[in-house]
Symmetry: D2
Subunit: 390 residues, 4 copies
């Protein structure tokens, strides 16, 4: 039943999944559900899809949920599900940032594994508390930094770890978008509204929304700690209280240098996430817009176009592909890879087994690192770009 | 519950789906299953996944099928499912070409809608007979020429139909691959073996396997009939009995000219499907390798990069997208679009309603056209490239 | 004095050059002059730049020619220059096709080396006669199929010759333009006028103008004879008497197959010359629009981006580069390479020496081949695409 | 005699040119000479091509200089040429950085126009002194920041000035190379040796060599002053005393932000100069590797591929092109555009006329700005990246 390296054999059966948020009008909830469906490892059986009872009901019905498992209150849902023999094993939390913590505590307490959107919380302190709660719960906590699910990103990490780049010297990562170039939040656009609102987004605007993705992606590939950063956050949109542009210089533990740019005011960029890593022996370049290719440039040799599933693929990427090279995979497949790896970990956890070789997904530690990154960037920027420890 | 233009609301519930072929070791069966799962419109509940009883059983179990709905004989499956109150409504036939006809007749007779891989049959005569059977059955028959599911391909068709290209003059379509450059079929590779075997593939090698895709894609976009072709089929692989390279010139009903190239011996090409259409006013270029972009060149103006879901998207493509522009979609999403449109048609058929605006998928007519194309190409090539009517 | 592999040392001094055609309003004459100036090997000292005395004079003065060496009659120029002690050694003929033969005969007779634009003549018979005249003259005759001057084209030829592609199976070459999509020749556009006029262009329209370039480029790289072709020539422009679109299939002496497309009615194409060559071991892809890169795809390995002057450069390309890799060279440098190689051959001819290793340029034989190609294509198209020997 | 917008008519005759530096083994001297030859505006008639008498003589002879105008001492050359009736009008100084000032003073004093390589001097103080000397001399002083000669760079500047980008908010400019990734200077490589030597290069390594190009290019296009910078200079090469990597954040007078990256240790980059400018209305992206294309992204519309000489070209770029769109121009044509514009200015200066509309080239002011940039960057980096005024 192989689909590329992935299989849709569902040994262990399907995991009963719940969802908090993601009702009518939401975007990312649908992405999570699709990702859960893709390889057949989950059944969505319960949801508190909205705090509005009517909307919660309509949304649950549209998804075919049983009426008694449609909730408008995540606390109630956690309790009710915990009490059922066929209660959910895992929950996906797909709410705005300020509603990540509440459901997480509720479901961990109910013994349910948690899959949560990023950034983790509104502050680093909150993140650290949550980490303690996760650790004492013994439950799995996964953060959907989905870009780490792309097969070639997995391969990049493996190549860096194997020394194929030599000693790493430079990291250039960027995530430009253009959707907030104009004052979109003033026109009733919901996604824009909460993203520019400190009460719902936290201290970072573009910083938290996409800067954390850029940071996490580079961190995932490079595997060396950023020790300090110098940041210049700007709000170009008139009246905008959070940054919509992030310029940043990075210093790594091994002496490497880096640059990070995240922007929501850069016309012509839809989701221009791109990372370049340069070592003493070679470099890698990968961009999300065409994620099935990666440039590998060994010093003194012609650049090679590595393709997902193509010549020279290794196990790190091969195990998370579904179709042959030349048939492009995309954002949803990468997102689903995170879900599938979580499923494999959950199934292993049932018996205390180790997850299969190669299973990986972002954890509470990545969430804490992301919050530390946000706080350091805000602090540096307020200190006129002074180098600030992470 | 919007995911881009698509929704995972499953009004009408899930369609009970069966599958013929696609057991252990098969590739395309898994693609069909994933496509059926993607938007939640289907439940796979029965299968004759292999003619080998053991393999059929193991494969069915791995997919979580109920033991009484695991078959090793599609005739038996058709009868048994027809007799059940909860029998399948639709079946996916994912076997090699020579096993398309048998299951199709069996399931149509059982009142089951059919989703079948291409090319349709082993001969044009067989195809015409099947068309008669489909028409008299009143059932839906869908052919998975999946490339017509890509959003930008849908948009290209809409643009051509709306006259944005002017009068069409030229069509250049190609589908090069490289996997049969060496004698792969002599090394026990199953996919290679049946594709070079006339008994299982029919009269066309690369012609039937990928040439038909190229032809169908151009046909879908351009919407003008090819009236005659001049073909030069070659078998470069030593001892290979079917063509592995197709050169072809095309003439269209309106006087347009075209060129079609399909090859399985072109190193450096994974699945290099690409189409270019030139009219009196503008041209379009689309390639499968990076399907989220399409070049639109209005005469005398700069070329514009159209993106899936990006500026200027129209309803034809917007309704079949799941994620925002800049988050790439791929082969599986395009394939799933075919499945979802079939689902919407099946649900409409339950009540005799018309399918929603924009629903489209290849039908038995496309299958017949594909077989006519294969036969004309073989005939032309045997006549040393003489122009041959389609 | 090295400029890349090329030097502007002018051992042997400058060659005295004359020009026929290329006066005010001409384009290609200026390209020839610039190419002659680039490496310092020539001095333009005489010209019959126009048949109109006034225009000839104004043009000659603008270029700083001595008044006594400004002619309005190439016959007179040939005689006068032959009689001077400091007469020209070489002449560049940059007139429309129907004025290639006259000056060639005149200057060969005067003992002057000839550099002539393509296509050679108006007919194959004329071309063969000219070949006889060239051979009996003992003078150098060079045809400016300039694309063979691009360093990476030289490298492609060397790689093919060295067997790096294995046995060649497929050649796909194309040269689309869009400038004749509308009826430009009806608006007083001089370049358009003579190119659609059989009396001035010969039997081929797009065929002679750019089809010959495509054919010559493929021929230069592959080095295997095309034995027969099947062509479909079309005139899309209303009232146009010569073809503006060429579709063609090719058969090579070794059994290889090919396809050639040339068009002047393909919106979005400025000068889209592109060639792809596939062998049993690897393929090469090169496009004029970005001539500093070439894709090399060894079977079963990642595609490599070869750059002009970059890693892995060989002598064939290195000797004709002027600036380091990463600083792009273009059309004029390629054209100048032809001129410089001609200069080296002329200087060698002074003493009967062999030209330096690697010197190459298209000759009268290429001109004859081009005319044979045009005639065969016209003949095939008139015979409804019948395979026609070259 | 039009060659695109440019002409090789040499109204005003040729300018007598001298050269300091650029003898055997030098690279950039040959580039200057070729640029001077390209449009026919200069005659190289004198040179102090090397301080070594033998080498100076051999080099001069190879270029066809008259023996009495071959010098090994630029002071002597300045005096001798000033005394000749046919003395040089202009001199090109193509020596390493520490030998820019001496010849400049000598030739200005001799009444000769100066064309000088960048960066200007070894310190900002020196640069200011030179500016005073230039101004009091009344001679033309041109600095060969050659990238401003690319036609599409000219167009980008014109578009920004015309408000087509709206208010500029962001500038991302980078110039990565890879040639110093290894310790090349320890292997006897001359170009590498002087570039890592503070005595010959000044305070900046990659900063002065290519960082100034990046800064100048952005400055040329954007036309808004950088007010302060925060820089992090690194020397990755073992024992290297000058920076080989530059990370920098920029702040502009209008509140815009920017990022500049220059590196000589980034494998896979030959000369990866690239600039992106984002305004409230649109963005532009241009890269030197393929300089005939520029991406123009108006907010909310598809990205447009602008081509040199293609649809929508304006006078700023059209006047400095030589061949039609689709025939690529490159580095040498861009460099030659600087030389030709200088020639037009010199010819105008003869009579005190204004140069023709559109003539532009970098001047002593750009040289001073470049030195101020280098000094501020070094100062900022030594102050641990503190924001430093320019």
């Amino acid at each position: 039943m192989a689909i590329g390296g992935l299989s849709d054999s569902i040994s262990g059966g399907r995991i009963r999944l719940g969802m908090v948020g993601g009702g009518e009008g939401a975007l990312i909830g649908a992405v999570h559900r699709l990702s859960a469906r893709m390889d057949g490892h989950y059944d969505l059986v319960a949801g508190a899809l909205s705090a509005s009872p009517d909307k919660a009901r309509r949304s649950g019905e549209a998804l075919g949920l049983s009426p008694d498992r449609i909730y408008d209150d995540y606390e109630a849902m956690a309790k009710a599900e915990a009490a059922r023999a066929d209660g959910i094993e895992a929950v996906a939390i797909v709410t705005p940032n300020h509603v990540h913590a509440g459901p997480t505590y509720a479901f961990l307490k109910a013994g349910v594994h948690v899959i949560c959107d990023k950034p983790l919380t509104l502050s680093l302190d909150d993140a650290k508390k949550m980490k303690a709660a996760v650790e004492s719960s013994g439950r799995i906590f996964a953060l959907t930094h989905n870009y780490t699910g792309y097969p070639l990103v997995r391969r990049a990490r493996a190549m860096a770890a194997a020394g194929e780049l030599g000693e790493i010297r430079l990291v250039q990562v960027e995530y430009p978008q253009d959707w907030l170039t104009g004052p979109l939040e003033q026109s009733g656009h919901k996604q824009a509204e909460w993203r520019v609102d400190p009460a719902r987004s936290g201290a970072g605007g573009a910083l938290g929304d996409i800067g954390t993705h850029a940071y996490n992606l580079a961190d995932f590939i490079v595997g060396i700690e950023v020790t300090e950063i110098a940041a210049d956050l700007t709000s170009f949109g008139p009246g905008r209280r959070l940054d919509d542009n992030v310029q940043m210089m990075l210093r790594y533990a091994n002496g490497a240098r880096g640059s990070l740019w995240a922007s929501q005011v850069a016309p012509g960029n839809e989701n221009g996430l791109r990372v370049r890593v340069y070592g003493t022996k070679a470099s890698l370049t990968w961009a999300q817009a065409n994620p099935n290719e990666m440039m590998f440039a060994p010093l003194g040799e012609p650049i090679r176009i590595l393709t997902r599933g193509g010549p020279g693929s290794g196990p790190a990427d091969a195990r998370v592909t579904r179709v042959p090279a030349g048939h492009p995979e995309g954002y949803l497949e990468g997102f689903a890879n995170i879900y599938t790896d979580i499923a494999l970990a959950i199934k292993a956890a049932r018996t205390g087994a180790r997850p299969p070789e190669g299973v990986m997904f972002p954890t509470i530690d990545d969430g804490v690192k992301g919050m530390a990154f946000i706080e350091a960037a805000v602090k540096s920027s307020r200190a006129n770009g002074a180098w600030t420890k992470l």
